[in-house]
């Protein structure tokens, strides 16, 4: 049993350890995955920033190149000096720009605007290309371009984001600024899709607390403006946010937001990079996210697991057999042998652990039974209950007759209980037929008269039956017989909590035997 217990403890410890790992390991793993996703978004944000910067330079180069066109320079110079018709200059500039850049949409351009040196619009190509003549001087990038700077900016007007780049237009002699050109690059859904394609993250663009473009559905990005607003101070100082979780239905996303540069920064214009957060670390979520592929033979160590389980069961069964079944079988065999061998005892040294204890207890029990006196050698275990004289009834017969205990209660009603006699014992006590005495000697002890008569009657029947069976009765005295019956009676009354015990004589295997019947 010791090894079985050790094995049980080991298996339980191992199972507990494995369960603990199974429950705790996903959490740090999920945190690590979340960190990695956050880092991926950080890198994507850096890449976006670089892309925007490179894009801005590209647009500046493009508009600067456009501004070097002689036709445009001449037209804008005339407009700045106020010579000629503005409408004519408008058409001239517009047609020239369209000739130089025939496919604005393909180039990702929303609008190109040409201005004279006073900041007055001479011509537009793209959006709102019919209007001209109004001044947009005062816009920082326009003022800069008219001073001679090439620069970029991001505008957020009319609910749209526009990345703009502006450059001065120099006179033919390249000695003065005669106007400016600015180009507005599309910064909406197309821009978001392009970013998503390049960076493999979802994008949302925010302007003045609204999502103006997104590659994700509205229910996912709907909470973004409020979330970003809560981190506004952080964005102003760090120019970005940490990875922020967004709950949308059953999915959780991580978002990193950064502000657009330029005057759009004053309009809460942000680009937000969004990635899906790894699955939750709790057991139901993990199980829910388990796919058939995860449980395939190639990805799950089924063989190792089955071998381990089979090994654990095999070792457990072996130890069970070795420490439990085997001693029990051996004890049963030995007990069977003991029944046929008088005076033998169980060899408790052969039995391990608790079975040795059981063997000792059984030996003690048998010794006790023997000390009480056997009523029948046939019923005593291993013959240990035989009377030392070989004639006295074994007390064990009383216990061996326990199977008849169901009848004694009914026996009180009258039906005969003693096999072989066919009738209840007579109430009167007859003297023994032969014991070499003249009359019935008084019984020792303080038995009631009725019981004393019963003992004498049983004694006479017992002696008679022994004679009938051809058994010797030498040494069988009423005193010894009565003493044994009293002892057995007392033991049985204690054991069965009965009022008294009645004995009867019967023949078993050609020998006289006694049967004890407790009377409630």
């Amino acid at each position: 049993m010791f090894l079985s217990k050790i094995w049980f403890v080991l298996v339980a410890l191992f199972a507990g350890f494995a369960l603990s790992i199974a429950l705790t390991a996903p959490r740090p793993m999920a945190q690590r995955l979340e960190e990695l996703e956050g880092q991926r978004l950080d890198r994507a944000q850096y890449a976006t920033e670089q892309m925007l910067k490179v894009d801005a330079h590209k647009w500046i180069d493009r508009v600067a190149k456009l501004g070097r066109d002689a036709v445009l320079a001449e037209a804008l110079d005339g407009a700045s000096r106020g010579s000629g018709e503005l409408a004519v200059q408008h058409r001239t500039v517009q047609s020239r720009v369209m000739a130089l850049l025939p496919d604005l949409t393909g180039a990702g351009i929303s609008t190109i605007v040409a201005l004279d040196a006073n900041g007055r619009v001479v011509a537009r190509v793209g959006e709102d290309d019919k209007s001209f003549g109004e001044s947009i001087g005062g816009a920082e990038i326009i003022d800069d371009a008219l001073r001679g700077f090439l620069s970029d900016d991001v505008w957020g007007a009319g609910g749209h984001l526009l990345r703009v780049a502006a450059a001065p237009v120099l006179s033919k002699g390249r000695d003065r600024v005669v106007g400016a050109l600015y180009v507005g690059a599309e910064t909406g859904d197309g821009f978001s899709e392009r970013l998503k394609k390049n960076l493999d993250v979802d994008i949302a663009l925010l302007l003045r607390g609204k999502v103006v473009a997104s590659t994700l559905p509205a229910d996912v990005v709907g909470r973004l403006p409020d979330l970003i607003e809560q981190h506004r101070t952080e964005i102003e100082s760090l120019k970005r946010t940490p990875a922020l979780p967004i709950e949308a239905g059953n999915e959780t996303y991580l978002a990193v937001a950064a502000p657009f540069p330029g005057q759009a920064a004053q309009q809460q214009a942000y680009y937000v990079l969004i990635g899906k957060k790894p699955a939750r670390a709790d057991l139901p979520s993990l199980l829910a996210s388990t796919s058939a592929r995860d449980l395939g033979w190639a990805s799950f160590p089924w063989i190792s697991l089955l071998l381990t389980i089979a090994g654990a069961i095999g070792v457990g069964l072996f130890l069970q057999r070795w420490e439990v079944d085997r001693p029990i079988n051996r004890m049963r065999g030995e007990l069977r042998n003991l029944i046929r061998v008088d005076g033998a005892k169980l060899d408790d040294h052969k039995y391990p652990g608790g079975f040795g204890g059981i063997a000792r207890e059984m030996n003690a029990a048998m010794e006790h039974i023997a000390s009480l006196g056997g009523l029948s050698g046939a019923h005593a275990v291993g013959g240990a209950a035989h009377l030392p004289s070989g004639d006295m009834p074994a007390a064990g017969s009383a216990f061996g007759a326990e199977s008849h205990f169901a009848q004694p209660a009914r026996g009180l009603a009258g039906p005969p209980l003693i096999p072989g006699l066919g009738a209840p014992p007579p109430p009167a006590f007859a003297p023994p037929p032969t014991l070499g005495s003249d009359g019935p000697p008084p019984l020792p002890g303080a038995l009631p008269e009725e019981d004393e008569a019963h003992v004498r009657e049983v004694f006479e029947q017992f002696v008679a039956t022994k004679r009938e069976c051809g058994e010797p009765v030498t040494g069988l005295t009423i005193e010894k017989f009565s003493q044994r019956l009293r002892d057995n009676r007392a033991a049985l009354m204690t054991k069965h909590d009965c009022r008294t015990v009645r004995f009867s004589v019967y023949v078993k295997d050609g020998k006289a035997s006694l049967r004890a019947t407790p009377i409630k």
């Binding site: 816009a139 920082e140 620069s151 009319g158 600024v177």
Partner: protein, 254 residues
């Protein structure tokens, strides 16, 4: 007859005057507080909102900005002075230009924002939207806004943030608008200790306690706003624009 009597009566007067004079506080002499304010390049360049790039064209020298930086120095905490009286000041917004771009007024003054251009604006004070909530200002319309509490307010257009007007409400007559070279001068300041505050770049950018009795030039260096993006290329007018003198170095800019 009367002269000797009068002489006798007036004889104790000098002594009484001599006793009474120490009880009256001695008059403090007013002086001029002057100095220079050096603001960050982003403010001097005239471009508050930078993009990624700002490059010179390489052919023509870059012209200085005509836009005034709008730096104001205010002395506060001088007892016994009265704030400027309230008045109504008009600010015209034409296209994407506001004129003037900053005003200094006393408490209770009203600023009238007139949209004389064709573009609709949405003016508000983003830092204090309860005082001046966002409201559309269509072309040809105006909006009145009263400023009762001393302080600095930046009124900005939500659609075109380059349209920004600084309203500085002072409760002291001692203030000056910094000239293009960064110099300022506040005359008539009593000798005392006062708090000097500098409004630059649409915010209170500097504050220090000064002793106005000192005659030395104050040299004030304004730090860039936290997180502010510096221009990749400094403005050619690194000396605050030498060619655009501002004769009005004191008083409101209206």
């Amino acid at each position: 007859m009367t002269t000797p009597k009068l002489s006798r009566r007036l004889a104790p007067l000098p002594a009484l005057l001599a006793l009474a004079l120490p009880a009256v506080p001695a008059p403090t002499w007013a002086g001029t507080v002057h100095g220079t304010v050096r603001v960050p390049d982003a403010i001097r360049s005239g471009r508050m909102n930078q993009g990624y790039w700002r490059l010179e064209n390489g052919n023509v020298p870059v012209r200085p900005s005509t836009r005034k930086p709008g730096t104001v120095v205010v002395l506060e905490g001088i007892s016994g002075t009265h704030p400027p009286p309230p008045k109504t000041v008009s600010v015209e917004i034409s296209a994407l230009n506001a004129s003037p771009r900053f005003v200094v007024v006393g408490p209770g003054s009203v600023v009238e924002f007139k949209n004389t251009g064709k573009i609709t604006h949405e003016l508000s004070i983003p830092a204090d939207p309860t005082l001046m909530p966002i409201e559309r200002l269509n072309a040809g319309t105006f909006r009145h806004q009263k400023f009762g509490v001393p302080g600095g307010y930046l009124v900005r257009c939500a659609e075109y943030p380059s349209v920004a007007i600084s309203v500085i409400v002072v409760d002291s007559p001692f203030f000056a608008i910094v000239d293009d070279k960064g110099g300022f001068s506040i005359p008539g300041v009593p000798d005392t200790k006062a708090t000097l505050k500098v409004w630059a770049g649409g915010r209170w950018a500097h504050q220090e306690t000064v002793d106005t009795s000192g005659k030395q030039d104050l040299a004030i260096r304004v730090q860039a706003a936290k997180g502010a993006k510096e221009a990749d290329v400094k403005d050619a007018e690194g000396k605050e624009g030498d060619d655009s003198k501002d004769p009005d170095s004191k008083g409101s800019a209206e």
